[in-house]
């Protein structure tokens, strides 16, 4: 593909005035496409010593692609990366490391079966051993991390894994640190602690690129911000003087009000789902511990919590997929909609077409099929109606569902599950990874069905989303409900503490 400078420069240059701090990283005109999708379109970025730069953008804006280029994982189609004036050979993780660029990936990229020490030294010329363990312990102490150098990585908590991933970079003496959505898996207090560490590292002369889509965090910790939209830089400026609304307009590109479906309070009626001290165990681990939950018609119950605290078990229990080992589940709903967290694995059949996926709940009805066959034209007309109603981005109902983007998948799932006007809706991480338009659609659908009289359970890691949608909020920690709040008495700080297992009664 021929790359041409289509737009007139990506962003206004932030004044060529001489700065005291030296430029450590200079990115010019990075372009990277996957098929016909341009993930990065002539992206420019500069980073100075001791600076924390936020890289802000929606899911799919090209943040992860850009850092994959920076760390040599991807080879860009065009553009250059220079570290302290020296160009970096493209597509070489080793060269990026040698130049001082280190990334803490969202998934940390650690080896679970390796010890802390082995993970830290992997890729250096050492293999571990007593002396090296000692050195690793010293580096950990210097950074203020409490990590046992001999502990296997699988035994660490998420916060500790993140410290380990950062320690790995510090041990190598890397001074350009890139953190890819580091707060996605942290509770608010853990995130605050991370911000402290980041500030300390920056004060020590290291430069940090910090990727997020949360405006609050940009304001909390970053000096400068680069905003990406559809793979292009739309802003590159100081954070001071920017407010959240301005940033969100830049990030989303339209009126930020789209984000706020701003639900009014619901109008609770009879109880459709009741869990009483329900306990679920899986593989010898107690996933849910005596959970009580009541969902009424016309209300949204939000379940806040960090992933891995029993959300999966709760979702499947509420949806009636698993039975409680102890306690009870009572449900009077005649139709239950389940929007699982793992859309592709548990929600849809990737190899089947959009129209087949859309028919999965209804194919046995006499309107759709005869005991011996399915009327495919009726299936297609159902699909056409739902594609229209849910703006599913697909031209042909027969195209494979696996080829859709995250937002498209969720629309298919939503269309199929909600078309029957269910009395109970269980939605797990319903907007994770979606673009703004799809997220807004998901939220307004959930609110709309609540107003129609359905009971809705929303399980989400995104506290802002929970607070915005819910009539009641439960906090889940280690499989137990550790807090319950009603609309009007939401306390963001306290809920955040409880998500991290703190804040006692």
């Amino acid at each position: 593909m021929l790359t041409s400078r289509a737009t007139a420069g990506a962003a206004p240059e932030p004044g060529a005035t001489s700065e005291p701090a030296a430029t450590v990283l200079e990115v010019r005109g990075i372009t990277k496409s996957f098929g016909d999708r341009v993930a990065n379109d002539h992206v420019d970025l500069t980073l100075k010593a001791g600076e924390i730069r936020a890289l802000l953008g929606e899911n799919g804006a090209g943040k992860t692609t850009l850092i994959s280029v920076l760390c040599g994982q991807y080879r860009p189609d065009a553009g250059t990366v220079a570290v302290r004036g020296r160009p970096l050979p493209p597509g070489s993780p080793r060269a990026a490391l040698a130049a001082g660029i280190g990334v803490v990936h969202q998934d940390f990229r650690l080896v679970p079966r390796f010890t802390v020490t082995e993970n830290v030294v992997l890729g250096t010329d050492s293999w571990g051993g007593r002396k090296v363990e000692q050195k690793v312990a010293e580096h950990a102490a210097a950074a203020g991390f409490q990590l046992d150098p001999g502990a296997p990585a699988w035994s660490l908590s998420v916060g500790e894994l993140q410290q380990l991933a950062i320690l790995k970079l510090l041990y190598r003496g890397l001074d350009i640190l890139i953190l890819d959505e580091p707060t996605a898996v942290l509770s608010p207090p853990q995130a605050a602690e991370l911000f402290n560490s980041m500030r300390k590292l920056a004060d020590g002369g290291r430069s940090i690129i910090f990727i997020t889509h949360r405006l609050r965090e940009v304001i909390a910790v970053a000096d400068e911000v680069t905003i990406l939209r559809h793979g292009k830089v739309v802003a590159d400026r100081e954070v001071a003087g920017l407010d959240a609304l301005q940033m969100s307009v830049l990030m989303i590109g339209s009126d930020a009000a789209a984000r706020h479906t701003a639900s009014r309070a619901g109008n609770p009626g009879e109880v459709v789902l009741k869990l009483e001290s329900a306990t679920v165990e899986g593989r010898g681990v107690r996933a849910l511990d005596r959970v009580g939950l009541e969902v009424r018609r016309g209300e949204i119950v939000g379940v806040a919590g960090i992933s891995g605290n029993g959300q999966n078990a709760l979702a499947e229990l509420a949806a009636g997929i698993v039975r409680p080992m102890a306690g009870s589940r009572t449900c009077i709903a005649s139709a239950v909609a389940y929007i699982p967290e793992a859309r592709m694995e548990r929600g849809l059949v990737g190899a089947m077409s959009v129209s087949e996926n859309l028919s999965l709940r209804q194919y046995r009805r006499p309107t759709m099929s005869h005991p011996l066959w399915i009327w495919s034209h009726r299936m297609t007309s159902l699909a056409r109606r739902l594609i229209e109603a849910f703006s599913i981005p697909v031209k042909n109902p027969d195209s494979r569902v696996a080829d859709l983007s995250g937002g498209g998948l969720q629309r298919v799932l939503l269309a199929r599950e909600l078309d029957e006007q269910p009395d109970l809706i269980i939605a797990a991480q319903p907007t994770r990874g979606l673009d703004v338009a799809s997220s807004a659609m998901v939220r307004s659908q959930l609110v709309g069905h609540r107003d129609r009289g359905a009971g809705v359970v929303v399980i989400s890691e995104d506290l802002d989303e929970i607070l915005e949608l819910s009539d009641r909020v439960l906090v889940l920690f280690k499989g137990a409900v550790v807090g319950e709040y009603s609309r009007g008495s939401f306390d963001r700080a306290e809920i955040g503490l409880r998500m991290g297992g703190e804040g006692t009664d």
């Binding site: 996957f34 760390c71 994982q73 991807y74 080879r75 993780p93 080793r94 490391l97 990334v103 990936h105 940390f108 990229r109 650690l110 080896v111 679970p112 079966r113 390796f114 082995e118 030294v121 992997l122 890729g123 010329d125 050492s126 293999w127 571990g128 051993g129 296997p152 699988w154 790995k168």
Partner: protein, 308 residues
């Protein structure tokens, strides 16, 4: 008494090629590449080793040729699975079929011939004179003597060197290894090719050292047992070696029982090692499922850097 002594001694000899093949497979699997072509590589090693020995009248050259032949076949596997990311299971099965066919073709004129060169037992002075253990343990050829040192050497390589750390990382989490600057592809290539060399040696041990003859399909499924041994040994070279010797013993028992004329069908006796494999696999697998050690997490999964 002599019956058992003979069984143990034969078991050691029969266990040795299994150990070589299994240790080779272990190296490849530790790097994350499953190579089900062990049987094919053994057969190629057996035939090439035999041909080279016949042609040169030198068994050492024959063994070396077998190692190279096994490695060459393995490099096909490496190119296909590591480079082109072909499904490892399909490719491994293909390799076995290819090895069986190719070895039969190459060895067509060699059945019934004598190798002309030999690898003889070297009794170890003093030790071989010890009562009982002397004849069992210290009257073997150099490949038998070497195998415990090789197993320990591989253990040290895996757990006590930088290369070993990189090897394990490539097999566990290739993405993490790559991000850390470990040359994942190079390591996977190397591991598969070295592993193939071991399988080639194992095959030639049968044709050049042990039976001193070539026959089509002469490894008789022992390549598959070697693969099972790696699982049985939970990817630990020491345990794999012990397992190989136990299997060798069971295998040898079959011959010994036949020679003393046990009134059981020889076909049933010949099944023993395979039945034993089945039992051991069931036991190991239930054990594995309960523990956090064992199978490399990236085993069988092709690694692609720009996968999205």
């Amino acid at each position: 008494m002599t019956f058992w002594l003979n069984s143990v001694s034969v078991g050691i000899v029969l266990g040795t090629p299994l150990a070589y093949a299994a240790l080779g497979e272990l190296i490849a699997e530790r790097a994350g590449v499953m190579n089900l072509g062990v049987e094919g590589m053994m057969l190629i090693g057996a035939v090439v080793g035999f041909i080279v020995t016949v042609r040169t009248q030198n068994a050492v050259l024959g063994m070396a040729g077998a190692g190279v032949a096994g490695a060459a076949l393995a490099s096909v596997h490496a190119v296909m699975t590591v480079g082109l990311r072909v499904n490892q299971i399909v490719m491994g099965l293909t390799l076995t079929i290819l090895g069986a066919g190719l070895s039969a073709y190459l060895g067509a004129g060699y059945a019934g011939r004598r190798p002309g060169g030999e690898i003889n037992a070297i009794p170890i002075p003093v030790l071989s004179q010890l009562p009982v253990v002397g004849s069992i343990l210290f009257n073997h050829d150099v490949f038998v003597y070497a195998v415990p040192f090789i197993a320990i050497g591989i253990w040290l390589l895996i757990y006590r060197t930088r290369f070993g750390l990189w090897l394990r990382a490539a097999g566990e989490q290739p993405g993490a290894a790559d991000a850390s600057g470990v040359p994942v592809f190079l390591i996977r290539y190397l591991a598969v090719i070295v592993g193939g060399g071991f399988a080639g040696l194992a095959g030639a041990y049968f044709s050049v050292v042990y039976t001193r003859a070539w026959a089509e399909g002469m490894t008789g499924g022992r390549g598959w047992i070697a693969i099972a041994l790696v699982i049985f040994g939970t990817w630990n070279p020491i345990v794999v070696l012990v397992g190989a010797l136990i299997f060798g013993f069971v295998d040898g028992l079959n011959f010994q029982l036949q020679s003393v004329g046990v009134p059981v069908s020889s076909h049933l006796l010949a099944m023993m090692p395979y039945v034993f494999t089945l039992v051991v696999l069931i036991i190991t697998w239930t054990r594995l499922r309960r523990r956090r050690v064992g199978m490399p997490e990236g085993l069988g999964l092709p690694y692609e850097r720009e996968a999205r």
